[in-house]
Symmetry: none
Subunit: 121 residues, 4 copies
């Protein structure tokens, strides 16, 4: 997992985004227990504290649920998951528009290009 130290985004936020994506994409199953803070920290090659911070953020957003003595679980709240997907998608798409506008495309061209890519690419 390549953490970008160069951009402004803190590692714990990058981790949070990654886990969000995993939850949204179903690679982390709702209701399932996730690995322990320490294990995740080792896997990610960061300090347990940093991982802790990312997970605390996710818990506070309702994406994870903590059972103090047994571990952390992915939320089963469908509404939360739906909102999560919407937020992630919105951010990604906004980024797309930003970059394509920067190379001189207008919004209609962007939509057309995305639609065309589906058929070709």
């Amino acid at each position: 997992m390549p953490w970008d130290f160069a951009d402004g985004l803190p590692i714990w936020r990058q981790i949070a985004v990654r886990i969000k994506s995993d939850v949204a994409g179903g690679r982390l199953v709702p209701g399932e227990k996730i690995a322990s803070v320490r294990d995740l920290a080792v896997q990610a090659g960061v300090n347990p504290n940093t991982m802790q911070r990312a997970l605390a953020q996710l818990e506070q957003e309702g994406i994870l649920r903590t059972e103090r003595t047994s571990g952390r679980y992915v939320t089963e709240d469908a509404a939360v998951l739906e909102v999560l997907r919407g937020q992630l998608a919105s951010g990604i798409i906004a980024d797309l528009y930003c970059k394509l506008r920067a190379i001189g495309m207008d919004d209609d061209q962007i939509v057309a290009a995305v639609a065309a890519w589906k058929d070709e690419g």
Copy 2:
């Protein structure tokens, strides 16, 4: 300009991508002379050799043209510019599909979401 030393992409490639984007977006005007290697290197905060390598790459792709005695110029070749835009857009759009598929969206949903964003966002 945040160059990313962490991922595998060499800095000179990152610079080349940025300049391509500037050309495609018209921030570097076709036919215009660009700054000297040394100045560009200072602006970017990199070694002149690194900048040189990026520019050589762009020249080899036909995006820049060198006049031995006077400096480097942005190509005026419309075909080259068009291909450039296509390449950049394709990469960006491929990235979009990759990320949105990762959060569980299928291609039709992606196209729909991008179209919807144009109207809302």
Copy 3:
């Protein structure tokens, strides 16, 4: 039972307050025998001497009564119990006024808020 070693209040006083609350609230029944010093000390996780001191204090206030040969009993004196309730309540209410004034409420607002809470909360 979380005894607070940090603030100035000695533990035996904290224990005394707790027992007073139990008597006032009827969790310790007037006329009933209470457990032995040793048992109470174990329950509270403190040294028997500390518990002894708390009980002596309560006895001196007339809340407990010692029968030399059989143990300690909760007073049945209604007047004592009434005074006890009054003292406890007064302390708690004084604390309330202190805290609510500290966040900028005046006495009328405090009374109103307490009355309102009864209906809502």
Copy 4:
């Protein structure tokens, strides 16, 4: 400032509550700059990290606003302040009811006692 290590509430939460109370009570003036993280940490006798955590929490609740290079400021948002006062008051009053019920008072008696205290005490 006596931090309670005995109860379960983390120090950074206790600090956050205290600062909330200061804001609600006007001891920290809306719009005014507060002391630096390091100074506050020294005043409170805790690690700068711990203070940082408390302040981050308050910022996230909209009570403080951070200007990265100049310092932290108390919000001027009247709505936020009003909600804050309401939350604090509610918590304090709930605590009152809990304690007074524990000594055998019913809700009407509680309201009456609080009203009486205003006139006497």
